[in-house]
């Protein structure tokens, strides 16, 4: 039997016995469809399980992060400070905010109250406490003006804005007061200061005690300091300069025996005074608002109305309707040896 006949003969016999199209194909296709359905069902179940897992994980993570957000944040941020060594968390008792500070500053910082936050003083080895930096809190929309030079916004909440003062200014003032080694510590801290500010965490708005405590309470506590500062400020602007100047010019211009010359000298003096208008000013303090007050330092916003004095009736008449706009000054006084000493006077507007 040759190959062709063998194939034909065998094919004939197998074809008579077996029919793939009739007996197998339909079943095979049904099996494939069934398998495909199962696979699709499994995929759906796996997808559903995956979605469920993701949702459950998200929910868990959300709850977990809500419960541990503050701690986690501090932990994460502590990494920055740990680069520079050990750190500790300063939690402000009144304002509730936290700062992560390097350990080497633990015994180097003294804090004092402030109307708008906390003042941090560098406590040197020889017992001196010198201002280093401030954390100031301003209620949004209040009349206080936080836009002072050297302050940077470090955090904002719905109600409050938190500012930090420039530590470099503080260190500059330290340099003349304390020993070099102490300054080096402060300068080292200046390097770590941005990380401390990065770890700054404000308290929830309703936990900021200063506002529940109220400014009135605070003012009562510091009333004496304000009064003293007021008196000092008042004295500062008694037109003393004018009186002294007038006395000098009087001697210079007034002839002892000539009324006319007296008048002319006065007129000349007045002319001079007019050129130096500042000398004619009488400063009237119309309002002083405590800005930052504590036991050793007072800052006030002084609203001062300046008016021209000692004019001829004509001049007064002529210029009486001209009113000077009140000016605002930031006055700073420090309590040194029991006396308030003016350390800063700056026109704000």
């Amino acid at each position: 039997m040759d190959k062709v006949n063998f194939k034909k003969g065998l094919e004939k016999e197998l074809a008579a016995r077996l029919n793939f199209q009739q007996d197998v194909k339909g079943r095979a296709l049904a099996a494939i469809r069934d398998k495909e359905k199962k696979r699709s069902f499994m995929m759906q179940r796996m997808l559903s399980a995956a979605v469920f897992t993701v949702m459950a994980s998200s929910l868990f993570l959300f709850i977990y992060s809500e419960m541990h957000s503050k701690e986690d944040l501090l932990k994460v941020k502590s990494a920055a400070n740990q680069m520079a060594g050990e750190s500790y968390v300063y939690r402000d008792t009144d304002f509730g905010f936290t700062l992560e500070l390097p350990s080497y500053m633990r015994n180097k910082l003294r804090t004092f109250d402030s109307a708008n936050g906390r003042k941090f003083f560098f406590h040197s080895a020889d017992g001196m406490s010198l201002p280093l930096f401030n954390i100031d809190i301003y209620k949004k929309g209040s009349r206080d003006d936080p836009s002072l030079k050297g302050r940077i916004l470090i955090a904002e909440t719905e109600k409050y804005a938190y500012f930090a003062s420039d530590i470099k200014t503080g260190i500059q003032s330290l340099k003349g007061e304390i020993a070099g080694k102490q300054v080096q510590i402060a300068e080292r801290f200046a390097v770590d200061f941005p990380a401390a500010l990065a770890a700054f965490q404000p308290a929830a708005d309703d936990e900021v005690k200063i506002w529940t405590k109220g400014l009135s309470d605070f003012r009562v506590e510091s009333q004496a300091a304000v009064d003293m500062a007021w008196t000092s400020l008042d004295k500062e602007f008694q037109a003393e300069d004018f009186e002294a100047f007038f006395a000098v010019t009087k001697e210079q211009y007034l002839a002892p025996n000539s009324r006319s010359s007296l008048e002319s000298a006065k007129e000349k003096a007045m002319a001079d005074f007019q050129r130096r208008e500042e000398s004619f000013m009488k400063h009237e303090i119309i309002d002083v608002t405590p800005f930052e007050v504590n036991q050793i330092e007072v800052k006030m916003i002084a609203e001062i109305k300046s008016s021209i004095t000692d004019r001829t009736p004509e001049e007064i008449k002529k210029k009486q309707n001209v009113k000077s706009e009140p000016s605002k000054y930031l006055a700073t006084y420090e309590l040194r040896n029991g006396e308030w000493i003016k350390t800063g006077w700056k026109k704000l507007s």
Binding site: F6, L10, L18, K25, R27, A28, L29
Partner: protein, 179 residues
């Protein structure tokens, strides 16, 4: 998968139904020659095409599609024969006496010959190792090289088995004709 023609495998590949149309009969015949049981051959053929459908994405085209499907079919058959060897051995021992008595009568042999099933019976009567070589070479028309690849043996062995298979088959057919 409402319609069978929707079972499309890829842009390049024919869909599974077309594959079945092309190779279904041949595969079923090969399987039958291995297992010599119609129902079992149909079940195994169904399994083969299910496997083809599931694995077609992994088909690398190192060989022809027919060779690939044939290899799947041979593996299925051999798996089946292996797993059923113990059962078959036990069954053959237990049923030996009964089977002897149920040997086809001369009348039944004539009926088989009338149906033209002598050749198939002769082929199926060959030992598997010769049977598969004969079927693949003479019936499926694979080359010796292809068969060596399909069966995982060298070409000389294939040739040797073909030679021995031919001799055995010739003897069988001649013996049947004498009867």
């Amino acid at each position: 998968l409402q319609a069978s023609h929707s079972i499309k495998l890829s842009a390049e590949m024919p869909d599974i139904e077309t594959i079945m149309d092309l190779y279904g009969e041949d595969i079923l015949h090969i399987i039958y020659c291995y297992v010599h049981d119609k129902a079992l051959a149909e079940d195994l053929a169904q399994e083969v095409f299910l496997t083809v459908y599931l694995k077609l994405a992994s088909f690398k085209e190192h060989s022809s599609l027919k060779t690939w499907i044939t290899r799947i079919a041979i593996n299925k058959c051999k798996d089946h024969l292996r797993t059923n060897y113990i059962k078959k051995t036990w069954l053959s021992n237990v049923m030996h006496g009964f089977l002897k008595e149920t040997k086809p009568s001369a009348e039944e042999d004539c009926m088989v010959k009338d149906r033209g099933e002598g050749l198939l019976q002769a082929v199926i009567g060959l030992p598997v190792k010769y049977r598969e070589a004969i079927i693949l070479y003479y019936y499926q028309e694979f080359t010796v090289k292809e068969i060596s690849s399909l069966l995982g043996m060298n070409e000389a062995t294939v040739k040797s088995r073909l030679k021995r298979g031919r001799e055995k088959l010739k003897n069988k057919i001649e013996k049947e004709e004498l009867l």
